[in-house]
Symmetry: C2
């Protein structure tokens, strides 16, 4: 006979979604477009990786180091990870017989000391709105400490994109919802809903290409080879979107793209794009909803500025400031890139 | 021209899923089977509600009070709510011109003082695994304080059901996942996954009827008219499931049902069942996964006990203890309801 004893209980933190560490790694490994982009960069450049020295910043379960070791045969990979998952990473590396190439290090990559600089830094540091969590800071500091002058970073560059968009289902579900429920008028809750649902970004939005009301523009560009920590404090971009269809505009949507430079002249650049024209990743898209939707017409211009601030106090957090105005067709002749009041 | 200024940032608590209060009310109102069950009970008994006195325990946005007032025309409804949403509930009641019937009270229902007892207590107190959050305690205390001896409670009774089940997708996604990822062996993470994913209930499981390996049994029954707060401390049920198909058993699933007694002799009992044969509610189903799936065969018996403890310290939380053994067909003649070691 079979016997089992189970004891189970919830705690608040568990109940409200903090599922501990493995859940995050499970989600990242399950994100095929993400992991396959890194795999493509490694496989495409396998020849050039042979004999090289590599640092994997924030190696997690070790997947990027394992792929580098298996396909690229570098002479040494330092898989550096600060969280406790690292104890298991060591076992995984041994289990896959790659312990001679991969050295797992428990600690902060930016504090790593090596006799010799490395040829490649590989890292998956991207968060919501590209920079959330600010793990990029570790990559930059590790680069300054330990990357050869002619070394490469993967990803090599990053863009954050912005586009005015419609989000009818999202807006209707959160706002028009209160107009009538079971025959009753719940509209007194609309200001509360506005405060709760509209005044912070929707970080897990899934948009469709046709939600874009204009061509997206890049509002942040980061060259991983040259970006400094100081530059992360504030990004600003003036935009001027030419509206392409008569529609209701509910807000702005955002997503990012990163590129992996080739190590050899004949290799292709690998691109990981998390936008609506590509397979959905665990980053999904981000949505900034307006308090009130506005009607816009083909040919009109949405002009303004996008600012991204690193939070003064919570250094892994961000603030976004969006200012814009609509320039109707009849006013375009007088229109100039404006100062906002 | 149109201008707008938006300022947005995340905080940890927001990012990790605590979306404040309105999100919860939005979710509950959006749960049609839930709200329509209450509406049916009210509409079916509209005649008997006329002129009655009603308390709505934990009225939230006020939806149950509004439906009572509109369809039943009671003489007085006390909508009692402890959270801050109550300020808006008052406005909603006025907006719907039901301020003469509904009196919104900010406070704990169990502390309400009335000159006269009421005929009906209506409340939506059910949580995950029926009792999680233990809001039922407020209803019981309010009943003892303020319900007439011949009064009614809605819901009038509740059952928690249990069934051995298969959950192949869930188990495979959380456990077999680690056997191979991108060609690498991640099995050293299996004990971590076991600890993180299997040793607490999955509270948002969506099961299919065919996942049930036996007929479900009721492991908790609550008569709202007579249940005492002391009884909530511990429920125990011995079960003996007759397995109905050759399958892999991954654990036990659980859900609840509540009933609404008719106020008149010719009215029907209204039932809200959150099980897999009914439309999905926001409670979904609960899943208790085993460390290792076991193979079971038609005719075998899964025998054991289910215990539900109110947590000693966190009084709104629960602990579940499941003990069981498999009685193979060839041993059934010697089998008796056993003592577990
Ligand atoms: Ca990340
Ligand atoms: Ca509830």
């Amino acid at each position: 006979t079979y016997e089992s004893l189970q004891q189970m209980y919830w705690e608040d933190t568990e109940y409200f979604g903090n599922y501990g560490n493995l859940k995050i790694h499970h989600e990242m490994l399950s994100d095929r477009p993400r992991t396959l982009a890194y795999q493509s960069a490694i496989k495409n450049n396998a020849q050039q990786l042979r004999g090289k020295r590599v640092i994997d910043v924030g190696s997690g379960t070790g997947i990027l180091s394992l792929m580098c070791a298996k396909y690229g045969l570098p002479s040494q990979i330092y898989a550096v990870e600060a969280s406790d998952i690292v104890e298991h990473t060591k076992t995984i590396v041994e289990k896959n017989n790659l312990g001679e190439i991969i050295q797992v290090v428990h600690g902060y990559a930016e504090e790593l000391k090596l006799e010799e600089r490395v040829d490649l830094i590989i890292s998956e540091w991207m968060g919501t709105l590209l920079l959330f969590e600010m793990m990029i800071e570790s990559v930059i500091l590790t680069r300054d400490n330990l990357l050869k002058e002619k070394g490469t970073l993967w990803p090599s560059s990053a863009n954050l994109f912005l586009v005015p968009c419609s989000a009818h289902a999202q807006y209707s579900q959160k706002m028009e919802f209160w107009d009538s429920q079971f025959g009753f008028d719940f509209s007194p809750l609309k200001p509360v809903a506005q405060q709760e649902f509209l005044h912070k970004p929707v970080h897990n939005h899934e948009m469709k290409p046709e939600d874009c009301l204009s061509s997206p523009v890049s509002v942040v560009f980061i060259d991983m080879k040259t970006v400094t920590v100081a530059e992360l404090e504030h990004y600003m971009h003036h935009f001027s979107f030419q509206i392409q269809k008569d529609q209701v505009m509910h807000g702005f949507a955002s997503w990012f793209q990163v590129t992996f430079d080739p190590l050899g002249h004949n290799n292709d650049v690998v691109i990981l794009n998390t936008g609506p024209w590509h397979e959905l990743t665990h980053w999904k898209q981000n949505l900034f909803l307006l308090d009130e939707p506005i009607n816009i017409k083909e040919g009109e211009i949405i002009s303004g500025s996008f600012e991204l601030y690193r939070h003064e106090e919570w250094r892994r957090h961000l603030r976004v400031l969006l200012k814009f105005k609509k320039v109707p067709n009849e006013m375009k002749e007088n229109w100039e890139t404006g100062t906002e009041t």
